[in-house]
């Protein structure tokens, strides 16, 4: 896998916007952004309404994913280009999700919506109409998804990467600073986790740093043992999907799992160890 297999630049999208077989998908939690303007031809996925089970705290199941993509007019052999706001967090989460359900031909737009906007590129409000398909998903690939017991078992054994801000890692904040601080869970981090905020992997315009800079960041500065398996987590699982993308897709680390649920689950568990204080 190389960077060009998993990432496309804004110029590439501009040149291939009308290609048949290329489907642009904007993924956001706040989908009013899409409604105000999006890249021409892009369909929208609502991270909460479309990708989360409406009752249980989990993914939509395989049949639900098939219904979703069929309704959006996406085929299994389409090249899906994902992008979104929040520096591509939700797009990276959707990327991970597409991979879990076996859609191999998926890429991220480097820099996402932010880079596109800061470049003053064209956006439209027209919503495309795509004929429905009969999308078939694979069974979930659990090798890239971690659950809470995997995290507990990883303490002191595997690489644990906490990708939240230093203030959340230390326990000073319970959520990112653009959200009210009212969650019920305890503050802190999983013992032995290294704090490598997701933002260190991205430039200010939202594009990913070079492979060399990323290797230096995780291996040399944070001290991740590239010979060991890794679990990435954040508060929910979108920011850590961004880091999962960096480690698994850009840096080709073989065994990297994203912990969906992350601190909202771990910080609410009774009887598990929690560490306070800044990263070392």
């Amino acid at each position: 896998m190389s960077r060009s297999d998993v990432l496309v630049a804004a110029d590439w999208v501009q040149d291939h916007i009308d290609d048949p077989g290329v489907v642009l998908v904007e993924v956001d939690e706040d989908t009013t952004a899409y409604d105000k303007g999006h890249i021409k031809g892009a369909v929208k996925l609502d991270w909460r309404k479309d990708l989360q089970d409406p009752v249980r705290r989990d993914f939509v199941d395989k049949a639900g994913f098939e219904r979703l993509l069929s309704g959006r007019g996406i085929s299994g052999d389409d090249t899906v280009i994902l992008y979104g706001g929040n520096n591509n967090w939700f797009a990276a989460y959707a990327y991970w999700y597409f991979k879990i359900y076996g859609h191999d031909n998926v890429k991220l737009l480097d820099g996402g919506r932010k880079k596109w906007e800061l470049d003053s590129r064209d956006m439209v409000t027209d919503v495309p109409s795509r004929p429905a398909t009969s999308y078939r998903a694979s069974e979930q690939d659990r090798s890239i998804r971690a659950f809470r017991d995997d995290v507990i078992a990883a303490i002191g054994n595997l690489n644990l990467v906490d990708v939240r801000s230093p203030d959340e890692f230390s326990g000073r904040l319970l959520a990112p600073a653009h959200l009210p601080q009212e969650q019920a869970q305890r503050g802190g981090h999983v013992p032995t986790a290294k704090n490598v905020p997701w933002s260190k992997a991205a430039e200010e315009d939202g594009t990913f740093k070079s492979d060399q800079a990323l290797t230096e960041l995780y291996r040399d500065e944070a001290g991740l043992d590239f010979g060991k398996d890794t679990i990435a987590y954040c508060r929910i699982g979108e920011r850590s999907a961004h880091t999962w993308f960096v480690l698994h897709e850009l840096l080709d680390q073989p065994n990297v799992r994203n912990y969906d649920g992350s601190w909202t689950e771990y910080g609410s568990l009774v009887g598990v160890p929690i560490e306070l204080g800044d990263g070392k």
Binding site: D30, N86, W89, D167, L179, P197, E204
Partner: protein
């Protein structure tokens, strides 16, 4: 308000404070250019070490809201055309710190 079921995403303009700050340390304001709101751009909050902490896209009114912790922060505004402007700001518990930023 956020619940564990919602994600960590920042809605445009951030989540507005409608009553008092309560026990939150709020930093909010607007970005204008020649007196006109800048609706397309981003506000980033950096901590005292210059580390990124949060970012919101500006609202239609050029607005942004952060829920920080008490202390010193740097606000950085990014907007199309290479705009990059910084302001130092101090937050304290129970206070809404207002900033008007001209770019």
């Amino acid at each position: 308000m956020s619940t564990p079921e919602s994600g960590c995403g920042a809605p445009a303009g951030g989540i507005k404070v409608t009553a008092g700050a309560g026990d939150q340390s709020v930093v909010q304001g607007h970005v204008t250019s020649s007196g006109t709101p800048v609706p397309s751009g981003y506000a980033r909050l950096l901590n005292a070490d210059g580390e990124f902490v949060a970012e919101v896209p500006l609202g239609e009114d050029g607005g942004f809201t952060f829920y920080a912790a008490p202390g010193d922060w740097t606000l950085r505004i990014l907007a199309p055309g290479g705009v990059r402007v910084e302001r130092a700001v101090s937050a304290s518990t129970g206070t809404i710190t207002e900033l008007e930023v001209a770019v």
